[in-house]
């Protein structure tokens, strides 16, 4: 029963900036253990949708449900508790620049667990090692490359063993090899840990490489056009806009 119900449900979500509607009437669900991709052209509101899902921006209308429980309807303390179930990797890593990589990963553990210092450091170094960053614990974010910063961002998002990981443009600004490695890492983490992944991206290679299902947001009509496996959408979608996007502009 638990396994059947969706993990995240979005119902009639409308997002605005002031009077400007970005997307309206979004309705979709994210299933347990899947890799769900939110795609669309630049400026269609992908990142804004992410900000609504993780609690940074409240919806103008509609609802986000985690395990059937209203996220925005909950009181702030309860919402904080629900937020602990997910980790977020921001576009440029958003590492706290005054702390070392290990401290970045440690901070959530320091706040939310009763472990002592050495245990926390062990865990942080382990998470960094999982991301291929063994031995980099005492570096500062400015001392490592962009690709490494993103992987530290993933390690930090995973610090508290979340059920859901959100990624904002994971492959943006990475060379093809690093982007590919990050995609592989995402798949690997899902397969080994069963974490549900939600990825905001417009990189076609990533979409086809990792996505189980995808959501297409349209900037012109300000609403979602389709949900489904990307390969199926590319070949069989009735909407030329989606086929065009997924075929890199060729119809």
């Amino acid at each position: 029963m638990q396994a059947e119900s969706p993990l995240v449900e979005v119902r009639g979500l409308t997002m605005t900036y002031g009077d400007f509607v970005i997307q309206r009437d979004l309705d979709f669900e994210i299933r347990r253990g899947e890799i769900f991709v939110v795609m669309g052209t630049s400026g269609c509101g992908k990142t804004t949708l992410l900000r609504h899902l993780v609690g940074l921006k409240s919806p103008a209308r509609g609802e986000v449900l985690y395990d059937g429980e209203s996220f925005w309807g909950a009181d702030p303390e309860r919402r904080q508790l629900m937020m602990r179930r997910f980790g977020v990797m921001y576009q440029n890593g958003a590492l706290w620049s005054s702390m070392t990589l290990a401290e970045n990963v440690s901070l959530p553990l320091e706040v939310y667990t009763d472990l002592d210092r050495s245990e926390i450091r062990e865990i942080a170094l382990f998470k960094l090692a999982l991301m291929g960053l063994a031995g980099f614990g005492d570096f500062h974010p400015s001392e490592v490359s962009g690709g490494m910063q993103k992987r530290v961002g993933v390690a930090r998002a995973m610090a508290l063993d979340p059920d859901i990981l959100y990624f904002d443009e994971p492959s943006a600004g990475l060379d093809p090899v690093s982007a590919r490695r990050l995609d592989d890492l995402i798949r690997e983490l899902r397969d080994s840990l069963g974490i549900t992944m939600v990825i905001v991206t417009h990189e076609l290679d990533s979409i086809f490489a990792v996505a189980d299902r995808s959501l297409f947001l349209d900037p012109d009509t300000h609403t979602m056009l389709a949900v489904g496996p990307p390969a199926e959408l590319r070949d069989h979608s009735p909407d030329p806009k989606i086929r065009q996007f997924l075929n890199r502009g060729r119809l």
């Binding site: 940074l56 904080q80 977020v88 958003a94 706290w96 620049s97 959530p108 706040v111």
Partner: protein, 369 residues
């Protein structure tokens, strides 16, 4: 460039020489006057056989011409242009996929005023909310539930305490010196040079010590708070804290506010002493007062209440500087330019608030006697 008219209402534009940016782009006024003359041409042809070389200067010039012809309804035959130029013109003329919204283009002054008012209103509400959040965080701190790292707190104390000593030394010493100079010129006329000690002592302890320290800290620490928090906002680091369930107010603002509010009275006291020393240099060196008599006079003039008044001001100024620095940093937009604006705004806000607070405290002090 030369224009020549053909009998059949046709204008031929002959281009020659080098069309490069280094040569400059000629004005299209000649052609415009030709088009607006008594008998405007109906079509235009180009002859570019004598053009020796071109870069983006040529298409830029031609684009202006094309717009002119289009607006006059004149048919332009582009076949005489180099092929590359034709392609560039086609590319530039392609309509963008989505129309650019002419946002606020034709705004009246009234609308601009209204928008500015709304913006200030929003900013005022944000400031009040910020103060409220700080208050809640302080209460949580008092009940031992607030979370920030002790190492951050210690680092901030070092930055806005120990590291500021040098500049405070210099400025306070000079301010004491200047006060003594101003006093000496006047008091000498009455033969009352010894009262320079009173003037400098009271002036530093009650007013100038706290004020000068606060202004130094506004420029030094307030600006750096705004820049640090602004960069963190721009880099989504604040968002990352929020989604971790860590309050940025507790984690970032509280240690800074506490550190500066604690360090300000110490720096102010230090500044008072340095200012008095500066005054003594003038008193002893220029007015021939003895060192001992100068300090005796200072001690008699000053009561503990005078120092207390200065220290209370220092605490108030310190918290104002920290609050405006952090507020502007948290309000910062998501670009490098926004960080610069936040920094400027933090310093201006701090200094304005310091001066206003100084006025209010002095009035209260006066009423209470």
């Amino acid at each position: 460039m030369a224009c020549s008219r053909q009998p059949n209402d046709e204008l031929v534009i002959r281009l020659s020489g080098c069309w490069t940016l280094a040569e400059g782009i000629p004005s299209i006024d000649d052609v415009r006057s030709e088009c607006d003359g008594t008998a405007p041409p109906r079509q235009v042809r180009f002859d570019t056989q004598a053009v020796a070389g071109w870069d983006s200067a040529l298409p830029t010039y031609l684009r202006g011409l094309m717009e002119l012809f289009a607006s006059r309804g004149i048919d332009a035959d582009r076949s005489g242009l180099p092929e590359g130029v034709q392609r560039l013109l086609d590319l530039a003329a392609a309509v963008p996929e989505t129309e650019v919204e002419a946002a606020f283009a034709g705004d009246s002054g009234l609308a601009t005023l209204g928008r500015a008012a709304l913006r200030h209103w929003k900013s005022a509400i944000e400031s009040i909310r910020f103060l409220g959040e700080i208050w809640i965080a302080c209460v949580r701190l008092a009940s031992g539930r607030a979370h920030f790292r002790a190492s951050d707190f210690a680092l901030t104390i070092q930055q806005c305490g120990a590291e500021a000593v040098g500049i405070v030394t210099l400025v306070s010493f000079l301010v004491g010196l200047i006060l003594a100079f101003i006093g000496a010129i006047q008091l000498k006329q009455f033969g009352a040079q010894i009262f320079v000690a009173d003037l400098v002592g009271l002036g530093m302890a009650r007013e100038m010590g706290a004020m000068m320290t606060a202004i130094i800290m506004a420029g030094r620490t307030g600006a750096s708070f705004a820049a640090q928090l602004g960069t963190m906002t721009a880099n989504e680091e604040i968002d990352a804290l929020k989604t971790m369930g860590i309050s940025p107010i507790e984690f970032l603002v509280l240690p800074r506010l506490l550190a500066l509010t604690l360090m300000m009275p110490l720096l102010c006291l230090y500044s008072n002493l340095l200012g008095i020393a500066g005054g003594a240099v003038v008193g002893v060196g220029m007015l021939d007062l003895g060192v001992v008599s100068y300090f005796d006079q200072t001690r008699n003039a000053l009561s503990l209440a005078d120092f207390a008044a200065g220290l209370i001001k220092a605490v108030v100024y310190g918290s104002l500087v920290a609050l405006s620095g952090c507020l502007r940093g948290m309000q910062c937009g998501r670009s490098a330019a926004a960080v610069g604006n936040a920094t400027t705004s933090a310093v201006v806000t701090s200094i304005v608030l310091i001066v206003i607070a100084s006025g209010i405290i002095n009035v209260i002090d006066h009423i209470l006697g």
